[in-house]
């Protein structure tokens, strides 16, 4: 029943750096397998090795079996027909300019007769709901539609195995949900074996059969979703790859003994059921509803805080004062209007202020004008009507959603204006400094200060090893990091980011969020367009919901999300019926902290 089997598989790009050693893995026919792990852990290399045509070039040992055969020896036609590979970026996979041409591309390659091609297109396009847009131009499609067309173009060959490399990382939540629902259908209705890598796993976990967690080329955990939750919920790295519902479950498990033997909720449905059960149990034990329990704990929390407050009062007062002095708007825009054509206005009458040190997230569906708004604010586009009020001293920095645009040098170091030699020298000097406590002259110190700032940033962004690489050779997550760092080097007062968390792994996302918080305290204002609801809920102070070219909602993320049913965080969707105002896991952790008594 095994479809794919890795046997003692070794792989390395160069003799010195081994990606995998002695890797063993079997994948059953018809299974949906999810591969997770931090960027650069080798999960993409792993699934790329299953496709002869595009396998990475390097040294390999051991055998991969596909359907009982050595995968390197299978027929070209079989490989093309039976194994489909979908890449991360929907844009670059297109060969042709219309949907129908793109879908038929694979069949045309196989030399299938015109009649059969048309019959299969008729079936597949209807299955995918693409039949209405068959003759549309590719560049008129939305990101979600593009990825669906790509998938359709693979499936028309009726593959047995599908390999997907972060297929939804470029899509907005709704589009990615649609895409995953399609994958689920394929898996259930055609028993298609699916191997997928992904960072955002909440929507995927409910219907996978097996999860494989990889770190540094080693398979650390490989189990069913239920079991892998049990194994890794305490793990620093891999707990980030567990669904929010499971994490909430484990949080409550610490305090309520009756949860002990309950199954771990993986989907929202299970999560809601488990909340219902908990509510009942708490009712039996304490005569309280869940919400009462929450209020009681919150009160306790406040009382405790009040005890501490007297100690903190002086500090807080200071903070308040400094806040007041900082509390002026650095940026103001008044009734902005923008559109490329008269009949198609993208931005309609938007005005707001940005206060110093504020972190604003701009949310909204695809094609609502979020990116356009950001470019208007960064003065990249000129509004048709309306005004921007910015002081001349204020530095703006902007990061495009496609990091490739920002690169124009041969190496990352040049891109960041870092002299590698002086970088090395500085490091040496610093070591000497540290050992001898020698103070250099002031000039050197000054240049060193700038350098040391840069080096701190480099260390923070974990890109030390990339300095001599060409930016194009870095993975998309790494490119994102380089570009954000490049923008920060300008020492901006306002930073405009267009989907900065795209393709970043959850660990680094956390770090980045913390870094932004730190920069905020130093007075940096950040405006971020994002699809990442969790990131917005965790780190931003203020959220805009853009709809129909206008700011529909302007409030804190908490206010914005708790009134939504679907467009909100997974934690909130799970606990909403009982504690509606908890949006993130941290909100819950604040209440259910170590101080409370266990029941």
């Amino acid at each position: 029943m095994d479809l794919i089997k890795f046997e003692n598989f070794n792989f390395s790009y160069s003799p010195n750096e081994k990606i995998f050693s002695e890797l063993n893995l079997t994948i059953k026919r018809g299974d949906f397998v999810l591969f997770c792990g931090p960027s650069g852990c080798g999960k993409t290399t792993l699934i790329m090795n299953l496709k002869n045509e595009i396998r990475p070039i390097g040294e390999e040992e051991g055998i991969i079996y596909y359907d009982g055969e050595n995968i390197r020896e299978i027929d070209k036609e079989k490989s093309a027909r039976e194994i489909g590979f979908l890449f991360q970026n929907p844009e670059n996979q297109f060969v042709s300019d219309t949907v129908i041409q793109e879908i038929s591309f694979s069949l045309e390659n196989m030399g299938v007769s015109t009649e059969e091609i048309r019959t299969r297109i008729a079936e597949m396009s209807t299955f995918f709901g693409l039949d209405k847009i068959l003759y549309k131009k590719i560049d008129e499609l939305s990101g979600g539609q593009k990825q669906l067309v790509n998938l359709c173009s693979l499936l028309i060959l009726k593959p047995k195995a599908l390999l997907l490399d972060e297929p939804t990382s470029q899509l907005d939540p709704i589009a990615s949900y649609d895409f995953l629902a399609m994958l689920r259908r394929l898996n259930e209705e055609f028993s298609m074996t699916i191997l997928m890598t992904e960072h955002r796993i909440n929507n995927v976990f409910p219907f996978i059969d097996q999860a494989v967690f990889i770190e540094n080329g080693e398979i650390k955990y490989n189990n069913s979703p239920q079991n892998i939750c049990l194994e890794t919920w305490n793990n620093d790295i891999f707990s980030n790859y567990l669904p929010a519902t499971a994490l909430v479950h484990f949080l409550f498990k610490n305090y309520y003994s009756f949860i002990k033997n309950k199954t771990i909720p993986i989907s929202i449905r299970d999560g809601l059921n488990s909340m219902y059960d908990m509510n009942e149990e708490i009712g039996v034990k304490t005569d309280n509803t869940f919400y009462d329990e929450y209020l009681r704990l919150k009160k306790n929390e406040n009382i405790k805080n009040n005890e501490n407050i007297e100690d903190n009062k002086t500090i807080e007062n200071n903070e308040v004062k400094s806040n007041e002095s900082n509390d002026y708007s650095v940026f103001e825009c008044k009734d902005l209007w923008f559109g490329y054509e008269k009949n198609n206005l993208v931005i309609k009458d938007i005005s707001f202020k940005i206060i110093k040190g504020e972190f604003i997230s701009i949310l909204g569906g695809n094609g609502t004008g979020k990116s356009t708004l950001l470019q208007l604010l960064a003065k990249i586009l000129k509004p048709i009507k309306g005004k921007l009020k910015i002081d001349k001293e204020i530095q703006l920095a902007y990061v495009h959603q496609n990091p490739m645009i920002h690169f124009r040098h041969e190496t990352v170091a040049e891109e960041l204006k870092i002299d590698i030699e002086s970088h090395d020298k500085y490091l040496e000097n610093r070591d000497i400094d540290n050992s001898n406590f020698n103070n250099n002259t002031k000039d050197i110190n000054d240049t060193n200060d700038i350098l040391s700032d840069k080096i701190k940033l480099i260390n923070f962004f974990e890109i030390e090893t990339l300095l001599e690489k060409h930016p194009y050779d870095c993975s998309s997550g790494e490119q994102q990091k380089i570009v954000i760092m490049k923008a920060l080097l300008k020492k901006p007062d306002i930073l405009f980011l267009d989907e900065p968390t795209k393709g970043l792994d959850p660990m680094f996302k956390k770090n980045l969020g913390e870094k932004f918080k730190e920069l905020q305290k130093n007075g940096l204002s950040i405006v971020m367009v994002t699809h990442d609801i969790d990131f917005a809920a965790d780190y931003t102070d203020r959220s805009f919901l853009i709809f129909d070219g206008n700011i529909q909602v302007d409030s804190t993320p908490k206010e914005l999300f708790y009134s939504n049913n679907f467009y909100t965080t997974f934690v909130n969707r799970m606990v909403k019926n009982y504690i509606p105002k908890c949006i993130t896991l941290n909100d819950l952790k604040k209440i259910w902290n170590k101080n409370i008594e266990k029941i």
């Binding site: 070209k76 890449f87 996979q93 129908i100 038929s104 045309e108 007769s113 902007y398 490739m404 645009i405």
Partner: protein, 299 residues
């Protein structure tokens, strides 16, 4: 979309014949009939938009031809005036004028052809015999808007990072150079991925086929029959010297003769028939829709 569909091959054959005829026949009456026909057809095809750029391109070119032909071609016996060391002759003027006429007709024919045979159909014509060429055409069609978009975005980022207020022309050229470099490198990089995706979907394993299909109907056969018959008769006429006027060395008064005598007008009438089928089909199309809207009361 038209209900009466004609196979793209028929269109192509017909238009090739028309273009050849526009070059072969230079009798003024033939050419005028030709022009009238093509204008009516374009009007029926509703291609006002497409005519404009063609005319913009045509008018300066026609002036150049009318002026340059007499200047460089000094053949011909009817001298009009002396310019420098050479005579400007009536013949070369007339020749330039007729050449202009043919050129205008050919350009308009192309406009009309494009309206009937869009690039999808053109692809169908080439993909059976030259599958790789048509693949390249498709990829180019995809690439152009992509390149355009990328150029725009990179330009924006450059302006943002450097400011575009006080720049000398040399700076601007330098900037354009580096923008182009970024766009080209970027595009090359991304096209590596496109190539991978093509390979992954089995490009190059077998001889390619095509999804495009057009059926040959009865109307196609009738049409090609009429066209061929008329074309052969017209060519026969041409063989006897009807429809083509000798301009060089001396322009004879027969230049302005209307081909009305018996053998002549048969050939002329066949020529007119050759021009008319598409107009007839367009009109028929309209009648069909008119009747439809009457029966169902739409519009």
């Amino acid at each position: 979309m038209n209900v009466i569909t004609i196979h793209p091959t028929i269109y192509t054959i017909y238009y090739i014949i028309l273009i050849l005829f526009a070059l072969l026949f230079n009798n003024i009456y033939y050419l005028v009939a030709f022009l009238v026909f093509i204008v009516i057809l374009l009007f029926l095809q509703k291609s006002k938009k497409e005519i404009k750029p063609t005319l913009k391109y045509f008018i300066p070119m026609s002036l150049i031809i009318i002026i340059l032909n007499p200047l460089f071609s000094h053949v011909g016996t009817t001298k009009i005036f002396l310019m420098g060391n050479y005579f400007i002759t009536l013949e070369s003027l007339a020749y330039g004028f007729l050449m202009d006429f043919s050129l205008l007709i050919i350009l308009l024919l192309f406009v009309s052809f494009n309206k009937y045979v869009d690039y999808q159909k053109l692809l169908y014509l080439t993909s059976n015999h030259f599958p790789n060429v048509s693949m390249i055409v498709v990829m180019v069609m995809r690439f152009i808007p992509l390149l355009n978009y990328r150029l725009g975005e990179v330009n924006k980022i450059f302006d943002f990072e450097h400011g575009n207020s006080d720049e000398s022309k040399i700076d601007k050229i330098k900037k354009m150079g580096s923008i182009l470099a970024v766009v080209i490198f970027w595009s090359l990089e991304e096209s590596m991925l496109t190539a991978k995706s093509m390979k992954a979907r089995g490009y190059g394993i077998f001889k390619r086929s095509s999804y495009l299909r057009y059926k040959i109907n009865r109307i196609d056969i009738i049409l090609i029959g009429i066209i061929m018959l008329c074309a052969i008769i017209s060519l026969l006429g041409l063989y006897y010297g009807i429809g083509n006027v000798e301009i060089y060395p001396t322009l004879t008064p027969s230049f302005f003769n209307f081909p009305l005598d018996f053998p002549l007008n048969v050939f002329y009438l066949t020529f007119l028939v050759l021009l008319s089928p598409l107009i007839f089909l367009e009109l028929k199309e309209r009648v069909i829709w008119k009747l439809r809207s009457k029966t169902y009361g739409f519009n």
